[in-house]
Subunit: 414 residues, 2 copies
């Protein structure tokens, strides 16, 4: 049933990735508050040191560490408390030999001091003198000027996806606006003579559009901007017109539906015909060794990826993970580690797979005592509820004939 | 240094979770397009069967399976093709004994038919007759009416976080608006005499507010709505007033900063004093066996959680994961499996931990051939760049004295 001549999913993906080339998207300048999960469009270099001054990390006494050398319980050192450092203020005094200043956590180290003695390691013996019973090393309990970020250092590199802490770092160095890549716009074209809108009532024989809602959510989750183009009849001219329009106003085009043999061939034909108008590109693969998702079509026209997706919801999700997500990430300018979020679990039952194809099994997770079990969700890939019940996907590679009960697997979480 | 009498983080969390009680939030009615990642406020019951009719899953012939029983290469069955099913239409004919109708994938099964024969298993021998060389089981290649979702079935249960496929399932049954819980509003109060806004230029001794940006991002990521209240001086009356206001207009209150001993005690005092005004509640813990994050304060006033957070960014992130996130999830009505997204890796070097405390180590991940290494990020917890460089956190439990080089660990990814 699975032709050895079909490509593996990874080979199919490579065909698309290798022909689309940067630069893809222009950038936009936004306030950092709006940049969570966005991709930095340039290296962001610090205009200043963070912190801008050496700070204490404890409540204690700022002093010259030399004055404490050799101090211990039996031979304490005695230090004069001459000054106090206040939060948020620059000390207007200098620490001289044998002197110290009271300093709070976060306070600025005064001139002449090179370390902070923790309150706990001193004894107040008079209002202006402490006994020190432990020596302090130079730099101890101090964050040095520029220790966090140095002026001129690249804090964020181009292509980095900005997390909460990255935005925090930018705030810390006074950068309140940055350039991020615009989000790739992904057209979603729903096709099928039987498909009607979710808000429609149904005639017998009709079904509502599910896939555009699934695709929209996944696209948003992975940094894209979905553009639903609507539902179209399986007609050469109609589909060709909307694909052509979508190539003009978006960065990637998805055609969902067309599960029947005739419809699939028509989608491929239209992609090639439009490529002809642009003078190049076209279909790069038609069918892969994959279940579910075998009939997927991939192509590129005018440097823009086009995918023809099978109509089954489970196939849509599998094709999203295997093809759409990596393409979207390349288009979006992402240049980071791609750490797939996953969890280890043990198979609750054995499951077979045909040789030569990659099987994507929907599973849900169940805790049994200390063990996490991965339970296959049964049901045809055309059933949306198989995805609703699932927590993630387990992949059986093409060289493997199945999974054994009790075998440890990696579940890619939704 | 760590008092055995301090609570473990999990014990501290339980103190808060056990005193805040549902119901927390009212709900709002939104279009399903706006409900990705939102929490269902009610069970959502299907008004209809999905599909509303039995459908073919292949291109082939709809027939009565009995007519194919015993058919094989040597003894084929012969069937009359009398009709054709069109996509999106209800067949206006009935399949009689010895008859079949051409049917496309997704087509509606006509009356009288109970299965579909795949095109591949038949041979056209005249325009109105096929030869069948394989028997078909009843129901084969058919999705039955209601097989995906049955009328009256709960598709989504209250407390479920809606993913792309869940929204798709709702679209499939014609539900275009649903009730979801409102997002919990989380006040963020930044305190510290040295703290200024990110947009300010700095005087010596001042630092910019980093933590409110880190907290806002994490709160949004986990379903809350951050409400930044601004930056306030470490003054009893000022802080008391803003906490009081925040208790009125939000569902949870975070106070960031106040790292010095005096400031910490003041925050705890204010929480207890305000609790007095409400006639109950107050501080539930002050300090936990945790690094970084030891000085965290937790309390509840008027059924609303209040947390006093240490000023160091790394401590903020650790306290978010251990305390704020689970509290936020309870407040948000989430009632799902809590699958922490994580990845297994091997420690690149050994690292020590003090007995009796839980250590949260920032790490970055590095691929070495087939091995994923977890490399500790060095640097004080006051440095925001230790978080910028990190990909996640490894926890050393309180009973463990450290991690060995090569030891397998679970990295909780950011």
């Amino acid at each position: 049933m699975f032709d050895k001549n079909y490509l593996l999913p990874s080979e199919a993906l490579d065909r698309i990735l290798s022909v689309i080339s940067a630069p893809f998207l222009s950038d936009e300048r936004l306030k950092i508050e709006e940049c969570y999960s966005r991709i930095a469009a340039v290296d962001i270099v610090s205009p200043e040191d963070l912190p801008a001054f050496s700070r204490s990390t404890v409540d204690g006494y700022a002093l010259n560490s030399k004055d404490t050398f050799g101090a211990k319980d039996t031979i304490p050192a005695y230090i004069n408390i001459r000054h106090e450092v206040f939060m948020g203020a620059s000390p207007d005094f200098e620490i001289k030999q044998g002197e110290a200043a009271k300093i709070p956590t976060g306070g600025m180290l005064p001139a002449g001091a090179d370390a902070v003695l923790m309150l706990e390691h001193s004894q107040v013996i008079s209002p202006d003198m402490i006994e020190v019973t432990k020596s302090v090393a130079p730099g101890e309990n101090v964050i040095q000027k520029g220790e966090d970020i140095k002026e001129g250092e690249a804090v964020i590199t181009k292509g980095h996806k900005l997390r909460a802490q990255d935005i925090g770092a930018l705030a810390g160095i006074g950068i309140t606006e940055i350039n991020v890549f615009k989000k790739p716009i992904v057209s979603i074209i729903s096709t099928g003579d039987e498909i009607v809108s979710a808000s429609n009532s149904l005639n017998l024989g009709q079904v509502r559009d599910i896939n555009s809602f699934v695709l929209s959510g996944l696209i948003m989750e992975h940094g894209g901007m979905p553009a639903k183009k609507g539902i179209f009849k399986d007609d050469y001219e109609i589909i060709k017109k909307i694909i052509h329009e979508s190539l003009n106003d978006s960065d990637m085009v998805l055609i969902s539906g067309g599960t029947s043999a005739g419809a699939k061939d028509m989608t491929a034909q239209i992609i090639d015909d439009i490529a002809g108008l642009y003078g190049g590109g076209g279909v790069l693969f038609h069918g892969v060794s994959l279940k579910p998702g075998k009939p997927v079509i991939g192509g590129v026209v005018n440097n823009k990826p086009i995918l023809g997706l099978p109509g089954h919801p489970a196939a849509i999700v599998v094709c999203f993970n295997l093809f759409i997500r990596p393409i979207l990430e390349k288009l979006s300018g992402l240049n980071g580690k791609n750490l797939d979020k996953s969890i280890k679990a043990k198979m609750a039952k054995s499951i077979a797979s045909a040789a030569g194809r990659e099987d994507h099994i929907r599973v849900y997770l169940e805790k049994h005592g200390n063990e996490l079990l991965s339970v296959p969700v049964l049901g045809k890939s055309g059933l949306i509820t198989t995805l609703v019940k699932a927590d993630g996907i387990v992949i059986i590679p093409h060289g493997k004939l199945g999974l054994d009960k009790g075998e440890e697997v990696t579940v890619k979480l939704f």
